[in-house]
């Protein structure tokens, strides 16, 4: 196990270096730079001043080595979009918001999805099952931006029960602003969880050891929750683990439409604005999160199913 982990971590470091080189080359290959002007072309002297100020006058490999050199010391530069704070400060300010939103969405998605999936499996081929299947198909097929706009029009514009957007800042602010973004984000994963829970539970319930458990005279509740569910969770780990980095790095659309001051929008705006330090930081962040997620889900398999060894 320890040897396995060391090997994996070394592999990951190589992956990060490759990701950083690719990201660096890609972002410098898009035409336009962070300081292009809307109107007339800048006088050459003024343009040179700007490039020199940000070190963009150096050859690419020098820029890359400089960047990696300071990144290793924990200095990821200053965001061009927000020059009064470092990239680290900017991420430190926005990421917790995205994590909080994503975390709540994951919580809602798992609990509701699991509950509906179990009910549907236990009441297989009854009207309850049909409703859960129908609603979860809807949740998977209707894209979140459509759901977001429906919620917004119904609850904010027409009924005026909820604010159109915003996010509580620390302890102050309106908690009601959290309802719509959390529901929007949770709906898709919740439907996914419900469907997978149902189908794998249905399969497990028919297996021999469940019949044995029932024959021992265990109550249906214990049979389903203790014996069946644990095995039914294995496929869920494969399906759900990748949802987590997606949700906690913030989702662009939900954050934008509900005015959540999270990290999500920076994934897009950094590229539009050619905010090189921020592009690199978000790319590396995503790379790290995905690697850790896959590593953890591999380890988690061994916990859920002792037959799997690393």
């Amino acid at each position: 196990m320890a040897r396995y982990l060391v090997g994996r971590v070394i592999g990951l470091i190589i992956v990060f270096v490759i990701v950083s080189i690719i990201a660096f080359l890609l972002m410098h290959s898009i035409p336009g730079g962070p300081f292009d002007e809307e109107k007339s072309p800048l006088p050459p002297a003024a343009k040179a001043n700007i490039l020199r100020k940000y070190g963009l006058d150096q050859p690419l490999y020098v820029q890359y080595l400089r960047y990696m050199g300071s990144a290793l010391r924990g200095d990821f530069g200053i965001s061009f979009q927000s020059p009064t704070e470092t990239v680290i400060q900017l991420i430190g300010r926005t990421w917790p918001v995205s994590m909080r939103l994503g975390g709540m969405a994951i919580l809602v998605a798992f609990t509701s999805g699991l509950a509906f999936g179990i009910i549907a499996a236990v009441k297989q081929n009854t009207w309850i099952d049909y409703i859960v299947t129908f609603v979860s198909t809807l949740g998977l097929t209707v894209p979140p931006f459509v759901i977001a706009i429906w919620l917004l029009l119904a609850f904010a514009v027409r009924l005026r029960w909820l604010p159109t957007g915003g996010w509580p800042n620390g302890t102050s602010g309106d908690w009601k602003t959290m309802i719509m973004p959390v529901i929007t984000l949770a709906l898709g994963p919740s439907a996914l969880v419900a469907r997978y829970t149902r189908s794998s539970l249905v399969e497990v319930i028919r297996s021999d050891y469940i019949r044995t458990a029932r024959a021992k005279g265990l109550s249906e509740r214990v049979v389903v929750l203790r014996h069946a569910l644990k095995n039914a969770l294995i496929p869920l780990i494969t399906i759900l683990a990748p949802q987590i980095p997606n949700l906690i790095t913030g989702t662009i659309f939900v954050e934008v439409i509900f005015r959540v001051p999270g990290l999500g929008k920076f994934f897009v705006s950094s590229i539009y604005l050619r905010d090189y330090p921020m592009i690199m930081a978000t790319m590396l962040l995503v790379a790290v999160l995905w690697s850790i997620t896959y590593l953890l889900s591999d380890i988690l398999y061994t916990v859920v199913d002792p037959r799997i060894r690393l």
Binding site: S40, L42, N49, N169, I257, R259
Partner: protein, 620 residues
């Protein structure tokens, strides 16, 4: 004060309006009928608006009239008397969105122009001059100005009463430090082109060839600022809209971003920075120490960070007071047009006098041939485009560059040069050697990250070129930075494109200057350059100067480096409880919040208030 024979008509207007405005202190005249209905208690201090000294009464600044006592009475706020129909002081709040998906690093013009937050900037500084709803220049930090007999040296007298919010006086040194900061190669300002070739030694200072103290901006004494130009520039007062000086002391102590944090922020404008949560919201409060002529009725400006696509929903939900027309989608505009209430809340105006046009790379075939360019200019049916796609509330057909209402505009006189005439177009193309488009290369029409409505327009233009001239045109909507990079490349990489241009200062030279050789378009016409430059520095009869610009524009339209399509008008949405004399119809009949919006370069700040129709709005 001024040498009348040597200044442009604009400057003449400034003087007249300056005198008028000085008389009423920049404070909004009360709406019609106020005098008759004014409650005696509220009427007594209205005269205070006339004299700046009266507004200095310290007690008045703190005493906010109790709203519970008499909601219909105006009351005194920070030294201004609210109009009779104004809402109570706690409702004198302006709530807007700003676009938090766009670059927004500063609220100060001299820090960055293109990364400056849109509608909510420029409230913390007092420029030398400002404009009113008729785009006339009126005094602000400068009480008067004059130019010497050479036409090169401008002297601005500063208002000695002005102070910063840290109680230090506003002096000419603040302006000098600000201009030096703008030219400083280490600062690398993104708007240096604006003063290049105008202010003496500007370009050399930017290039690091002369020290900053050689710049043509000097302090004669504490309250006299002198600006020296390279050649006579009658448009200097108009340019000084962009003289929102930073404080020398704060600039030296904290750098150009000192207004990012309320702790280091300092203001000589009508507002102070109360809170700025990056990406989230920004709050300004009325500056109790403001001594300028643009005292606001509004006590608080709340600007909430949001994507522009959410503006209309928030407006409908009653959360914000204003949505810029540019942020309304065609679908939003359809909803507004169908709604009797909303359609009363939309207010068209000239925006920033923006003209959309097709342009060509005129140095390479096939567009090096004038007849080809002329042929293109005659196949576009602007009237139908406006009616079917743009909608008449969003634009008017353009056959020339300067929008009606802009100085020296000559729309009627130039209307026939690029008129819609398909037969003539076909004939011209045949004469150019491409009968019915035979042998003409396939074209790509580049767009600069255009909204869907202009993508649709470009498709319609491409279709009419295909139909009438037999030339295939593919429309390609590029991302802004890629577009500008290719356009500004030397030699240009854009053969055929559509783009727009809006003004920066109110002088024909500003708009026509974009067509000077070496600029962003690949069209060089020595005669045009000479005409524009000559007119720009002409200090004689203003009427003659206008005529010179009109001749230059005629040459521009005739040589067809561009086919002018439409002048964009902007229909902003704002709540009926926003009132003020600057929202009443202007000289062209537009009743709207004009460019530059609620900023201290506009007399709107001294005029806008919230009427009691607002009811009991929730303030976030």
């Amino acid at each position: 004060m001024l040498n009348h024979s040597r200044v442009s008509s604009l400057v003449l207007l400034f003087v007249i309006v300056a005198a008028l405005l000085a008389a009423c202190g920049g404070t909004a005249p009360a709406p019609a009928g106020q005098a008759a209905t004014a409650a005696p208690a509220a009427a007594a201090p209205t005269a205070a608006a006339a004299a700046p000294e009266a507004t200095a009464a310290p007690a008045a600044a703190e005493a906010t009239a109790a709203p519970a006592a008499e909601p219909s009475a105006g009351g005194i706020l920070n030294g201004v008397t609210l109009p009779d129909d104004a809402a109570p002081p706690d409702q004198q709040v302006l709530i807007e969105h700003y676009d938090n998906t766009a670059d927004f690093t500063t609220i100060d013009f001299w820090e960055s122009v293109y990364k400056r937050g849109g509608s909510i900037a420029d409230l913390l500084t007092e420029p030398l001059v400002r404009i009113n709803k008729n785009f006339e220049i009126v005094p602000a930090a400068a009480t008067e100005w004059s130019v010497d007999s050479s036409g090169l040296v401008w002297t601005f007298k500063l208002d000695p009463n002005l102070i910063w919010s840290d109680d230090t006086p506003v002096t000419a040194d603040d302006f000098v430090a600000t201009f030096r900061y703008g030219a400083d190669p280490k600062h690398a300002w993104d708007f240096t082109w604006f003063f290049g070739g105008v202010i003496k030694n500007w370009n050399d200072a930017v290039a690091g060839k002369v020290p900053l103290d050689q710049l043509g901006v000097t302090a004669v004494d504490a309250h006299t600022l002198q600006i020296t130009t390279e050649s006579p520039a009658p448009y200097i007062p108009a340019m000084m809209l962009y003289s929102q000086a930073l404080q020398k002391k704060a600039l030296e102590a904290h750098g150009g971003l000192y207004n990012s944090d309320p702790a280091t922020s300092v203001s000589d404008g009508p507002f102070i920075l109360k809170e700025w949560r990056k990406g989230d919201r920004l709050i300004y409060e009325a500056n109790p120490k403001y001594k300028g002529k643009n005292k606001p009725f509004i006590q608080k400006v709340i600007s909430i960070g949001a994507a522009t696509s959410t503006d209309f929903a928030a407006y409908q939900a009653g959360e914000i007071d204003f949505v810029g027309g540019g942020n309304l989608s065609p679908a939003d505009n359809d909803i507004i047009a169908a709604d009797p209430e909303l359609s009363k809340e939309i207010h068209p105006h000239y925006g920033d006098f923006r003209t959309h046009y097709l342009f060509f790379d005129t140095k390479n075939p096939p567009f090096d041939n004038l007849k080809v360019r002329q042929a293109f200019s005659h196949v576009i049916d602007r009237d139908t485009l406006i009616k079917q796609i743009i909608k008449p509330s969003q634009g008017i057909p353009a056959y020339s560059f300067l929008m009606p209402g802009f100085p020296a505009a000559n729309s009627e006189g130039l209307k026939d040069i690029q008129n819609y005439d398909v037969a003539k177009a076909k004939q011209l193309l045949a004469e150019a050697g491409f009968p019915d488009g035979k042998g003409f290369p396939k074209l790509t029409l580049w767009l600069r990250n255009e909204a869907p409505v202009r993508q649709a327009m470009a498709q319609a233009i491409a279709a009419s070129i295909k139909q009438n001239l037999g030339i295939d045109v593919e429309v390609s909507n590029k991302e802004t930075k890629s577009f500008m990079d290719a356009l500004n490349a030397k030699p240009t990489q854009v053969q055929f494109g559509m783009v727009s241009y809006g003004f920066d200062f109110l002088d024909p030279f500003n708009m026509l200057g974009v067509w000077l050789g070496g600029g962003r378009h690949n069209w060089n016409n020595a005669q045009y350059d000479e005409m524009v430059k000559k007119a720009a520095s002409f200090t004689g009869d203003p009427a003659e100067r206008t005529k010179m610009f009109q001749e230059a524009e005629k040459l521009l339209v005739s040589d067809v480096p561009a086919v002018f399509i439409y002048h964009q008008t902007v229909g902003d949405l704002y709540k009926p409880y926003l009132k003020g004399s600057e929202l009443e119809p202007d000289k062209n009949g537009f009743a709207a919040i004009h460019w530059p919006g609620y900023a201290n370069m506009s007399t709107l700040v001294g005029s806008l208030y919230v009427s009691k129709d607002v009811g009991n709005r929730t303030i976030p």
